[in-house]
């Protein structure tokens, strides 16, 4: 018997299908949205409620070695926020870096049904897939870190563009990634090989490779374009957190030359001012450029006051923060592939830079002209926990609330921004875009982020409230793959989401080029590196669109 469901009388926000708060019924059969269902179907009466597609987090850090190191690092944080089990769900611990089960359930309790882990060194991808298999309810995928890859650098140095493209495709396939991720391009070699140095200019040479970060980024953008990856290279720019980094960010966006690129957590890359002096807001320059360039998508990486954790493949950045905070610090070098730094952090209202960052994030949102391309994230847990999203939505939707909040912050920093002049309030439709339809489009997820016929039946139903934080904090119903996982605010059942990945086509002969490099420089055997399909469990291959 097919499993059917009908959500009736709700106000539907489905921007991809131009439905803006109209009262409509949504029909579900076997995990998909359909035109109609049988009369005797189970109904959810959503009268007085808002119906949206399940939300999608395009950039977060929720699984894998760095996340697990951060979990191990902070028992003091877990014990303050336990996650008890229920009759149908597993227990766990919360805090700024929750256990896997708590992560999945907590995303679901905010109406999120998909989340993308944003930074995975390929050699550890097996670990990520194991953790994602223990991350319930949501669908998930990950971006593989290739922007500091020693073998790919060698190919670029030798000018072998075609092999470079083939090797990228080999890596994405071998580890079941969704797309490629570049972090502080070029920095790993200097960090590990030159006593903790860092790239300061995207046009400088990456040590003995005789290539520049800009050249590397251009090459990735071009290769991803040709491979037709569903989501373009996801770039964490150089010079994160340094005053005046807007010039680096602008140079990076220009390197795309009109091709698709995703700029991760742009708030952290919108610092004006001079190096080694207090930053000022450069949000205007960055958002103007994005507004004018349709090839660019971005997530904001809003900071929220309170606990955070710097958890990044940008090891020099974590080191810089360590020397500000002198807190416990983790560094983890991954052979030939990546670096990593972790440091517990907190954003405080009284601190100039923290207030400035908070305000810059909101400036970016409020000055964005195209909600489809400037998407909601906190770069969890870097800018704060994903559990802050409802509060962030309220900040965007309620200008009186925002202005009240501003009174309690560092006024010197507030004066350096134009936030007081921005009266814009996001509409529910725009919220549905920056949390659902927009991320789905940026990711190339045709069956998500909307409620049209054929879409995945990932649906959230909220009781409409004036207080938008309260509203988005606790959906009344969450339906995942057509199954009512949260029913009247309570977990009705457990659910396993699936892995989303892409399989760009490539010439298999490239493996023979890569293998000798493994013999020389890797500590695992080449034949043990690629990950078997067994680790995928439930999964969906998202099609690529290669350019011939």
């Amino acid at each position: 018997m097919p499993s059917e469901l009908k959500i009736v009388n709700g106000r539907v926000y489905d921007p991809a299908n131009h439905i803006n708060g109209d009262v409509q019924d949504i029909c579900v059969r076997d995990g998909k949205i359909v035109d109609s269902v049988s009369k005797s179907v189970t109904k959810i009466d959503a009268h007085g409620m808002v119906v949206m597609p399940g939300a999608i987090d395009i950039h977060c850090h929720i699984a894998g070695p760095k996340v697990n190191l951060a979990r191990k690092l902070m028992p003091e944080d877990h014990r303050l926020d336990v996650h008890p089990k229920t009759a149908v769900t597993r227990s766990g611990t919360g805090g700024i870096v929750p256990s896997t089960f708590a992560t999945g359930y907590r995303y679901a309790t905010m109406g999120y049904t998909t989340a993308m882990e944003a930074a995975v060194p390929p050699i550890t991808a097996r670990h990520v897939l194991e953790e994602l298999d223990d991350t319930p309810v949501i669908d998930k995928g990950f971006y593989v870190l290739l922007g500091n890859n020693a073998f790919l650098y060698k190919l670029l140095k030798e000018g072998r563009k075609n092999e470079f493209k083939e090797a990228i495709a080999w890596w994405v396939n071998s580890v079941h990634a969704y797309t490629v991720k570049l972090v502080n391009t070029g920095s790993d070699e200097l960090w590990k090989g030159r006593k903790n140095a860092n790239i300061t200019d995207v046009n400088e040479s990456i040590d003995h490779y005789d290539i520049t970060p800009v050249h590397v980024m251009e090459s990735f953008i071009e290769a991803a374009h040709e491979l037709g990856l569903p989501h373009p290279p996801h770039i964490h720019c150089n010079n994160l957190g340094h005053s005046g980094n807007i010039s680096t960010t602008l140079d990076t966006m220009k390197a795309a030359q009109g091709r698709r690129v995703h700029m991760a957590h742009i708030q952290f890359h919108s610092f004006g001012g001079e190096l080694n002096k207090n930053p000022v807001s450069g949000a205007r320059e960055i958002i103007d450029y994005i507004n004018d360039h349709e090839n660019i998508t971005a997530d904001v990486g809003q900071v929220m006051f309170g606990k955070a954790t710097a958890m990044t493949a940008d090891a020099p950045l974590a080191w810089m923060l360590r020397n500000v905070k002198f807190d416990k610090w983790v560094n983890a070098d991954t052979e030939c592939e990546s670096g990593c730094g972790i440091i517990p952090f907190s954003y405080q209202e009284s601190i100039y830079t923290h207030t400035l960052q908070w305000a810059m994030g909101l400036e970016l949102f409020l000055m964005s002209k195209d909600p489809w391309r400037v998407l909601l994230s906190t770069d969890h847990p870097n800018g704060g926990s994903f559990m802050n999203y409802p509060k962030l939505i309220k900040l965007l939707m309620d200008s009186a609330y925002r202005k009240e909040a501003l009174k309690h912050l560092n006024q010197k920093a507030v004066d350096k921004t134009v936030l007081l002049e921005l009266d814009r309030e996001y509409t529910l439709n725009e919220i549905a875009i920056i949390t659902r339809a927009g991320p789905a489009r940026a990711l190339g997820l045709m069956n998500k982020g909307h409620l049209g016929v054929g879409a995945d039946a990932d649906i959230t139903v909220y009781t409409e409230e004036d207080d938008k934080e309260k509203m988005f904090n606790a959906p009344r119903y969450v339906i995942k793959d057509g199954i009512t996982v949260i029913n009247d605010h309570e977990f009705a059942t457990d659910h396993k989401g699936k892995i989303l990945h892409s399989k760009p086509g490539y010439n298999e002969e490239i493996a023979a080029e890569i293998e000798p490099f493994f013999e020389d420089y890797y500590s695992v055997r080449f034949s043990n590196y690629a990950i078997s399909d067994d680790y995928l469990h439930d999964h969906e291959e998202i099609p690529t669109h290669p350019k011939s």
Binding site: K85, G92, T93, H127, C336, I531
Partner: protein
């Protein structure tokens, strides 16, 4: 994956070669084994690339003619075994599980689930080896690296409190001393190797510099090094206190600050002697401090084949690496309170499920006495002191030899196993899944244990 080649050479033996198989005997988790398997006799006749320990591990593995399940010493079916085990766990007020470092992550994940379901206690052998390093990590963090990075870059390699030549024979040759790497073109010639220990061992000959510390004085030496690195004064009688001269300390500090990429490997000589997590914390802090001058990492040399996997699984499922208690329906962590040797010694538990470990041979007398009084379920590949006192005993297949699955090397790199030949015995994972299914069935509906 073309690694399995079947052939029938002259003597008409059914021989199989498995390339790039993995040895799980120690935390090196070498994945370059070439195993020759005699399929008629069900044993491995050659293990190319294995060290002496690895060879023994592979060669000694023969399929013994033993019952799969014994209940109270009497042969029983697998189903009866799983039924009885589930009933014991459900009936207990404070059930525990322990071991887990010599089975796959897939099995470990099920074991934690069972304890979550019954509000039990989960602990691994980490609590009796590098648990103190885990606690030190929680305190100060760690600068670390995968072993391949060390192979490629480390020009200063310091081993402290360990004897890898005996415990991890290929650590020197495969990862950290002799191999050539990307920036170490001449192998050992390009590295300086330092060994710090309380006595000379079979590892000493590999070292360019041997530093002998008075027993129990590691912390003092480490702290003096930290002070010198930071340009602080140290006590004049340091040599008297620790056995290490000021000149030696100055030389070490100079080398550490001026190397290109340094690594400190810590052994159990630090974690299981006076100082424990203070010692590990001092190593981590020293390595972190040195990053103000150069690039420096530290790394515990972990023992069991998948103890690192156990740390990872327990951490991602609960937030804590070992010594985790679910009595209240959510995880709590407290070493000393929820670590198995302590739980047993205080006589608190009334049922134990021991997986791939032999606490009855190495725990304290009081802990063993208590273990002998309560119903014990064991899963092991061979007879041990613990299997002998168990009420339900499962003979299981050997991971890496008879089963696939995932293990984590000591540097957190996950590796998939390639089984050499089939075993008539079930895997840990299969037994645990059977027990989990039964436990969940016994605790359905209103019987489900929830949080309080």
């Amino acid at each position: 994956m073309p690694e399995v080649i079947q052939s029938k050479p002259k003597e008409k033996k059914n021989i199989k070669i498995v390339k790039d198989a993995t040895c799980t005997f120690c935390g090196c988790v070498c994945d370059d084994m070439e195993l020759t398997v005699d399929l008629d006799e069900h044993r491995i006749t050659k293990a190319k690339n294995a060290c002496v320990l690895g060879r023994a591990w592979f060669y000694e593995h023969v399929l013994e003619d033993r019952p799969v399940v014994l209940i109270d010493g009497k042969e029983a079916t697998l189903e009866e075994g799983m039924d009885t085990a589930a009933q014991i766990l459900v009936d207990a007020k404070f059930p525990i599980t322990y071991g887990l470092s010599d089975c796959t992550c897939e099995a470990q994940r099920v074991a934690v689930d069972i304890m979550d379901t019954i509000n039990g206690n989960v602990d691994t052998t980490t609590s009796v080896c590098h648990g103190p390093s885990g606690m030190a990590f929680q305190g100060v963090g760690e600068s670390t690296a995968t072993l391949g990075e060390i192979r490629n870059r480390a020009d200063l390699v310091i081993y402290w409190g360990g004897n890898p030549a005996e415990s991890h024979p290929r650590h020197f040759t495969r990862y950290a001393v002799t191999p050539k790497g990307m920036y170490i073109p001449n192998g050992k010639k390009d590295r300086t190797v330092v060994l710090v220990d309380v006595r000379k061992t079979s590892s000493t000959p590999v070292a360019d510099i041997f530093v002998q510390v008075k027993p129990g004085k590691d912390f003092e030496v480490l702290w003096a090094l930290r002070a010198l690195v930071k340009g602080k004064r140290i006590s004049k009688d340091i040599e008297e206190q620790t056995g290490v001269s000021r000149e030696m300390l100055d030389d070490l500090v100079y080398r550490m600050k001026n190397c290109q990429y340094g690594v400190l490997f810590l052994g159990m000589g630090l974690t299981m002697t006076r100082g424990r997590h203070f010692n590990s914390g001092a190593v981590y802090s020293l390595a972190a401090d040195l990053n103000e001058f150069t690039h420096f990492v530290a790394k515990p040399v972990r023992g069991h084949g998948n103890v690192t996997g156990a740390d990872n699984v327990v951490s991602w499922q609960t937030g804590y690496p070992f010594g985790v208690n679910f009595n209240r329906g959510y995880p709590r962590f407290n070493p000393g309170e929820f670590t198995t040797s302590d739980v047993l010694a205080r006589g608190e538990t009334d049922a134990a499920m021991i997986i791939a470990s032999d606490p009855a041979s190495n725990f304290s007398r009081r802990a063993i006495e208590h273990l002998a009084k309560i119903p014990v379920i064991t899963m092991d590949t061979k007879e041990t002191h613990t299997t002998k006192i168990s009420k339900v005993r499962f003979a299981v297949a050997t991971y890496g030899i008879n089963t696939g699955g995932t293990v984590y090397r000591m540097d957190d790199v996950p590796i998939s196993l390639r089984p050499a030949f089939d075993s008539p015995f079930p895997t840990d994972q299969e037994v645990l899944e059977g027990i989990r299914q039964r436990v969940k069935r016994l605790l359905t509906g209103s019987k489900a244990r929830t949080a309080f």
